[in-house]
């Protein structure tokens, strides 16, 4: 029976809880902005740029006309944290589900690296999306 | 074949303690048991373990109480050994991690118990046996002692006046396996299943006693069977003496505390020794002052829920689950039930029997520290003290030239016998078992009369014959409980026979043994131990004088 010490297990477990609690707030905020204020079907590249670059959240939706001016850095921070936390929480969660199956234990190392690499890829993709709607960056980069 | 220095047959409290002691003495120990150790019936012991721990207390008082409780037929040197060792052993248990109940200052708590002159019963709530069993098994795990569980030992191997090991059936595979051992310690527990209404487990069939008996070792004092005064009427489940120790009261149907009012025990009342209380209860019932089912009432309602829950939590559970009675608000119906065998394999204070290399310990053995009646809280004590002594002695004196050929021969014989058993017969074992249990419960109970005993003996003789042609209906080899029960039945019959013969021959009343025709104790003729030998022509009875030291016999009153 495994009595092998893995000191990171406790930290991972703790981070899973901590990111979970943070995500309740962050993802709640995300839903509120994108679905309740703006409305998913009203999202365009333009208003995405407004939110990400200037922190301006505008909506003409069920709630009526709403316009919020957040400090840009605050909105940016929530976006990046949401990205990082949701990837950690989600990927570690799935990895853990796989790791408690006896049949998959022999692939433990492979799975671990796969999830680490995959998480990094997801994070980079997220950052690129962020940058795509970050005006100063967009000025110098255009895929066409 | 498996080979070890010391073989322990049975893994209850005594077996585990012996294994630990033998292992500490440097022997290669293995335990062979028909149940996994934690399933042993030691776990059902409730009340506590006696030891003169406190400064105000003295082990000599404990010895005196025990001698008096035994109705002066206990061997006083053995009793003194046990009571003197008691404090050390209880502390040893504590040091092994056993979770005793505690007093406010963090020390082991003690309570009053029947027949004791001082509250010296150390307890762990009302689960003392459970805690003890688990603590001992933990120690066995810690030491990495080999445990062969679910092996049913059927015989010990005797050759040239020595014991060379044992033969067992692997319950899981059905194979017969030989165990060669330099010393074989029988720790198989009691034989409560001889009776129908018993507190003992289904597994308590007296296998060790019967094995030794068939190997030519005498059975000592088998007629002394303790009937516990408080067992649940429908199932025989034990309601601990701790209930009375804590102040529980017994009532008859007139609402009288009969122990006092009818003078059964004018001083100690409910806390008189068990034989006295059992007889009192049955007398009440016979004289028409009992409740339905031959019960009296044990009342704990004045304790309040908190106290019951703290000290007697198991009783709450048991009474609710098995008798549908809530002890917090209503009295528990109780009646006497078979509880303990004072007798057993005759052995000395080290557990050594007449047969070289064979030891007996615990309820299987008769050292005799309990004499004609065991005091509550002395059984667990006997397990640990005698377990330790037997373990040490067997480890230091085991045979070195064990004859493996004798064991092999015995394995072959046993295989043949089991094949014969499996080959079919007339009557199913459960029928014969029922007949024996019923007659024992009816005729060899708390009150015994000559006529009834003779009748019982006839039924047992018949059962012996019927057993020759017993039928095992299950033909599978894997986990064949039908076969195991058929093998156990032989032990039951052996024990029933020796109990009844001993009871018939002892023409006096002493301790738990009460004869209708001879209601008084007869110190002149009967300050003797009964020894029953197994011979070709049936049991042979001999007698030997009791070891009397400081405590001279006098009338017993509570």
């Amino acid at each position: 029976m495994s009595t092998k010490k893995s000191n990171t297990a406790g930290w991972n477990w703790f981070l899973q809880r901590a990111t979970g609690v943070a995500l309740v707030v962050l993802l709640g905020f995300h839903f509120a902005v994108e679905h309740f204020i703006v409305g998913a079907h009203h999202i365009t590249a333009e208003n995405t740029v407004e939110r990400i670059t200037y922190g301006v959240i505008e909506g003409d939706h069920v709630l009526g006309q709403i316009s919020i001016n957040m400090p840009a850095f605050l909105y940016q921070a929530t976006a990046i944290l949401l990205l990082a936390f949701s990837i950690y929480h989600g990927m570690y969660g799935v990895y853990n589900i796989l790791m408690e199956q006896d049949g998959l234990k022999k692939y433990r190392a492979q799975l671990k690296y796969f999830f680490i690499v995959f998480s990094i890829v997801l994070f980079i993709q997220g950052i690129l999306i962020f940058l795509a709607f970050f005006e100063p960056f967009w000025e110098i980069y255009d895929p066409r | 074949m498996k080979k070890h220095d010391v073989l322990i047959i049975g893994a209850g409290g005594a077996g585990l303690r012996a294994a630990v002691a033998a292992h500490e003495a440097g022997a290669d120990v293995a335990m062979v048991t028909k149940l996994h150790p934690v399933r042993s019936h030691t776990g059902a012991a409730e009340g506590g373990i006696n030891a003169a721990l406190k400064d105000e207390d003295d082990w000599k008082d404990h010895a005196y109480d025990t001698v008096k409780g035994s109705d002066y037929i206990g061997d006083q040197d053995a009793i003194e050994t046990m009571t003197e060792e008691a404090p050390n052993e209880v502390i040893r248990l504590e040091n092994m991690g056993m979770a005793f109940s505690r007093t406010e200052n963090g020390r082991m708590a003690q309570r009053a118990f029947g027949g004791l002159s001082f509250p010296r019963t150390t307890y762990a709530s009302d689960k003392t046996g459970h805690m003890l069993l688990h603590t001992m098994y933990e120690q066995v795990m810690k030491r990495g002692i080999t445990v062969y569980d679910e092996y049913f030992v059927t015989n010990v191997v005797r050759e040239n006046g020595k014991c060379h090991g044992a033969v067992a059936v692997d319950i899981q595979t059905g194979e017969v396996e030989g165990f060669a051992g330099g010393a074989t310690v029988l720790a198989t527990g009691g034989s409560g299943q001889v009776f129908e209404h018993t507190t003992n487990a289904v597994a308590c069939t007296g296998d060790g006693t019967s094995m030794a008996y068939r190997a030519g070792v005498p059975m000592e004092d088998m007629e002394f069977v303790q009937f516990h005064p408080t067992t649940l009427p429908s199932t025989g489940i034990l309601i601990t003496e701790g209930c009375r120790g804590e102040g529980g009261e017994l009532y008859n149907n007139k609402g009288e505390r009969f122990m006092y009012e009818y003078g059964y025990a004018a001083n100690d009342g409910e806390l008189a020794s068990r034989d006295v209380v059992s007889r009192a209860e049955l007398t009440e019932v016979q004289e028409g002052r009992g409740f339905e089912d031959g019960c009296v009432h044990l009342d704990l309602t004045h304790f309040g829920e908190e106290k019951i829950e703290e000290r007697l939590s198991q009783i709450l559970e048991l009474a609710r689950d098995f008798e549908d009675v809530d002890p917090v608000t209503e009295p528990i119906p109780v009646k006497p039930g078979q509880h303990y065998m004072m007798g057993g394999v005759a052995c000395d204070a080290n557990g050594a029997t007449e047969l070289d290399g064979l030891y007996a310990v615990g309820e299987t053995a008769c050292v005799s520290v309990h004499g004609a009646n065991r005091l509550g809280g002395n059984a667990l004590l006997e397990l640990v003290v005698m377990g330790k002594l037997a373990g040490q002695h067997s480890a230091n004196n085991h045979l070195t030239n064990v004859s493996t050929s004798a064991v092999e021969q015995a394995v072959d014989d046993e295989r043949a016998r089991i094949d014969e058993l499996m080959s079919g017969g007339k009557e199913h074992q459960s029928v014969i078992r029922q007949d024996v249990q019923n007659v024992m419960t009816e005729k060899v109970n708390v009150f015994r009369a000559e006529e009834g005993l003779e009748e019982a003996l006839e039924v047992i003789d018949e059962a012996k014959e019927r057993y020759e042609d017993v039928n095992v209906k299950d033909s599978s080899k894997t986990f064949n409980t039908d076969l195991i029960q058929a093998l156990e039945l032989r032990s039951i019959i052996d024990c029933a026979e020796t109990i009844t013969i001993g009871a018939l021959k002892r023409t006096e009343s002493r301790g738990a043994h009460w004869r209708y025709e001879h209601q008084d104790r007869d110190d002149e003729n009967w300050l003797k131990h009964t020894y029953v030998y197994h011979t070709e022509d049936g049991p042979e009875v001999k007698y030997e004088d009791v070891e009397i030291k400081d405590y001279k016999p006098k009338a017993r009153s509570y």
Partner: protein
């Protein structure tokens, strides 16, 4: 003391119980069967009959080949944990009259079957042993002979001490089923019994925590509460595990304190 009248009232229960019971029993005899099947038995019941009584009655009267482990019949030895009507319970303290019929009796789920209702327990015992369930004090007794323990501390471990190793909880636990390195609820409750015992001392306590604190240890618990629900002794292994993992995390975040 209840008066006679009151007693009689309690002794005349609503005797309108079913006179027979039907049991669907899981059967598998390796020599005879390739795979398990269910056999239906009908028996007469008596007042207060437990499932174990019923099984013994079937064995004695109808089918001697029916096999079940049992010994003390008073919920103490823990031999006869079975899967009865969809829940792990002890056959010996489950009343037939309280169950929906036909009564479905199976061996413990997630354990391999040796025969009929008898399951292979060796893995369970190994799990129990994996948490080093023996007393390991890190110091000599305070009084020279006995270790001191406060009644409060003793009370804290009172319920976990009552574990009878029946394996009902481990059978009910899905992480224990899929992860063989996870000691499972019974073993962790046993570990907790020592972890909480103040007699062992601080050093051992920390060592025990370190031993259990890994991704296949206490962190594997998903708080399904199955173990707590099925425990015949009302132990809550979930609570024990949560307390240990809370302590482990606290230890990691020591600067908070």
């Amino acid at each position: 003391m209840a008066t006679t009248q009151e007693t009689q009232k309690t002794e005349t229960p609503a005797a309108a119980e079913a006179e027979t019971a039907t049991l669907d029993v899981f059967r598998y005899i390796p020599e005879e069967d390739d795979k398990p099947h269910t056999e239906t038995y009908e028996i007469e019941t008596f007042e207060g009959m437990t499932v174990l009584d019923a099984l013994i009655k079937i064995r004695d009267e109808q089918d001697p080949s029916l096999t079940v482990r049992h010994s003390c019949r008073m919920a103490r030895c823990g031999s006869d944990a079975l899967y009865i009507n969809g829940t792990q319970r002890l056959a010996c303290n489950t009343q037939v009259s309280e169950l929906k019929q036909p009564i479905d009796v199976e061996p413990l789920p997630r354990f391999d079957v040796i025969r009929d209702l008898v399951v292979e327990m060796s893995e369970f015992y190994n799990r129990m042993e994996s948490v080093e369930p023996w007393f390991q004090p890190d110091h000599e007794p305070e009084t020279g002979d006995e270790y001191l323990q406060s009644p409060e501390n003793r009370k804290n471990i009172d319920t976990v001490l009552d574990c009878i190793w029946c394996a009902a909880c481990t059978s009910s636990c899905s992480p224990a089923a899929s992860d063989s390195d996870f000691p499972g609820p019974a073993a962790l409750a046993k570990a907790y019994r020592f972890y909480k015992d103040e007699r062992e001392g601080e050093e051992t306590r920390r060592r025990r925590l370190e031993m259990l604190e890994n991704s296949h240890g206490i962190y594997r618990c998903h708080t399904q509460f199955n173990c707590t629900e099925v425990c015949p002794k009302n132990i809550s292994p979930t609570e024990a595990i949560m307390e240990m993992s809370r302590d482990a995390i606290k230890e990691k975040l020591r600067f908070w304190r």
